[in-house]
């Protein structure tokens, strides 16, 4: 993937660039908002990672500008401001996701991949298929190897999110934000319990597990 990193903290940008490059991406860097705007106008990117507070032109202004110019590249905001209001402002300006600093690197990678993937599967499907797992979004049914799996509504949503991001790591925070729409970190392992319930339904009795635990990151659904 081609990724634009607009971040004025050079050390943070270095770490990001190294990690993303090692994960097989091509990174371009800009150290402030104006530089970021030039880079965004010149290049073609799959995802932009934009710091919210920067000299010359802040992240919100930068994204508002490129969105006005018709650029629909997915944007991940990075910010030290984590209140609900700040988040809403970032998303309103045209951001697609919002990550509060400091973050775990696994969290950043997972979100960047999720954003890039979302663009690929932009069209509306009524049927999701990952390997032998099939989800009918209209009939609200799930089958594996042709066998129907009975899911609770929340389990269905959870599996839908995992299927839409099959092959990628998704973090617990992402699940809590996207499936439950909560933006806080519980002190207990609530998400793990939900995942293990889902796992017992889709993997139990089959020859190999599809729902994997990724150490230090979260979970991944493999075909």
């Amino acid at each position: 993937m081609r990724i634009l990193i607009v971040e004025d903290d050079l050390e943070a940008a270095d770490a990001m660039e190294r990690g993303l490059t090692e994960a097989g991406n091509a990174c371009t860097r800009a150290a402030d908002g104006e530089e970021g705007l030039t880079a965004a106008r010149d290049g073609e990117f799959d995802v932009m990672i934009v710091d919210r507070m920067m000299p010359k032109m802040n992240g919100v202004q930068l994204i508002e500008t490129i969105r006005r110019e018709g650029d629909q590249t997915p944007v991940l905001f990075l910010s030290a401001l984590g209140e609900v209001g700040d988040r809403v402002e970032g998303l309103k300006a045209g951001g697609d996701d919002y990550l509060v600093k400091p973050y775990a690197f696994a969290e950043l990678i997972a979100r960047v991949e999720a954003l890039a993937r979302r663009r690929e599967t932009g069209s509306v499907h009524t049927l999701l298929r990952v390997g032998e797992l099939e989800m009918d979004l209209i009939g609200r049914t799930v089958h594996r190897q042709g066998k129907e799996i009975d899911l609770q509504p929340r389990e269905f949503q959870l599996l839908e999110f995992m299927m839409r991001h099959a092959g990628q790591s998704v973090t617990r925070t992402m699940l809590l934000e996207k499936v439950w729409e909560y933006h806080f970190d519980p002190q207990t392992n609530v998400i793990d319990v939900h995942i293990s319930r889902l796992r017992s339904k889709i993997d139990k009795g089959f020859d190999r597990p599809m729902l994997q635990t990724v150490r230090g990151a979260g979970y991944r659904l493999d075909a």
Binding site: H183, P186, Q187, S196
Partner: protein, 466 residues
Amino acid sequence: MRLPRIFRTAPFRLTVIILGLFASSALAFLAYIYVATAGEATRRTDQEITREMHSLVAAYDRAGVDAVNQSLIERAASERPFLYLLMKPDQKKISGSIEESPVEKFTGAPTWASFAVTDLDAQGHTMKHPARGLQQRLSGGQVLFVGADVGEDQAYVDKITRASQGAGALVVVLGLLLGILVSRNVTRSMTGLTEVVDAVRNGDLGARAQLRGTRDEFDELAAGINEMLDRLERSMAGHRHAGDAIAHDLRSPLTRLRARLEVAYLDVEAGKGDPTQALAQALEDTDGVLKTFGAVLSIARLQAAGAAPDPVLFDPSELAANISELYEPLCEDKGIDFAAELQNDLQARGNREFLAQALANILDNAVKYTPSGGAIMLRVRRRSSGEIEFSVTDTGPGVPDGDRERVVERFVRLENSRNEPGAGLGLSLVAAVAEAHGGRLELAEGPGKVGEMGPGLRVALILPRA
């Protein structure tokens, strides 16, 4: 040019405005009196002149010009206040007390004229008096003029005019004095308040206005200012305290982290110990510090704002149902019986995100401390007072009566829970959320001791009526 201070006060300005209004109404009043009295005097004189004229015309019609002449002579001698002039048709004087008619253009119709007569006073000075008269032609062609000296009427009117002017001046002077007096009084009442404001501006937040016990608006204002300053001082102290607390809260885990890193470094340098494990441990510690930092920041922000941001009307049972759905599997996994009792058709006002987090924190605690085989009950109901109550009751060890207040304080963890994970900020954040919503947090004993279990804890987050 700047006016002296007293003239620049609001009460003085107000007095001047009222004075202006009062003076104009007084003026109107005096004008009415003037018209009523002076006009009345003129009207009376005119009536008398007309009556005298009629009686002379009647005499003429009865007995001719000689009779009139005769009566004029008689009347002049009787010192009647009338002035007469009887003239031939060509307006030559026949007889009378004045020499010539003041009527300049006489057409024959009855004509009124105002003029002046000269008189000698007791000292022999010439005096001019205003006079008024009526001239008319008699049926025989002669012309008769009857007038009257109106000097006394005029003097009377002059007196009224002078009295009015004097009264007006008196009103203005008294009004100004009153204005100065009122301004002085109000200014004196304000001075105390102004001094307090000045003192606060100069950094003395402890300054308070003196109450005079009059229970008037100024006392009310002073009391209001004092209360405002009390709150401000408390809030400032809270901020200072929050700063100190943040420093303390973060310093201890950071110190632990640093110590651990140092030990790991020395171990790795000495060739013993596993660097990967040391780094993993350091990362985990850092995450712990960040979590603590996040919680401290949320509490500090809520306390500083004093109110929950972006409040909306919402269904508290729906909020609780969503959170129960998140926690129910966790309870089941731990062998805890979870039940929710949610009253329908309730409404509350607040920030859903913060309230959800508060409920999650309460449930986190309950799950953490309730042993397998225990039970947790989440209940949402409306109290008879109209307040909305979210309560979580567990069958864990509970909190001894004397410690309940303390566990809400930041970072207080009871001795027997030291080995459980968590920063000890959970209930402090819940309390901060409750306070920011104008509500409160209540801790009480749970269902009581049953065998090994209990007595349990009941945590209630109470929101004011929407």
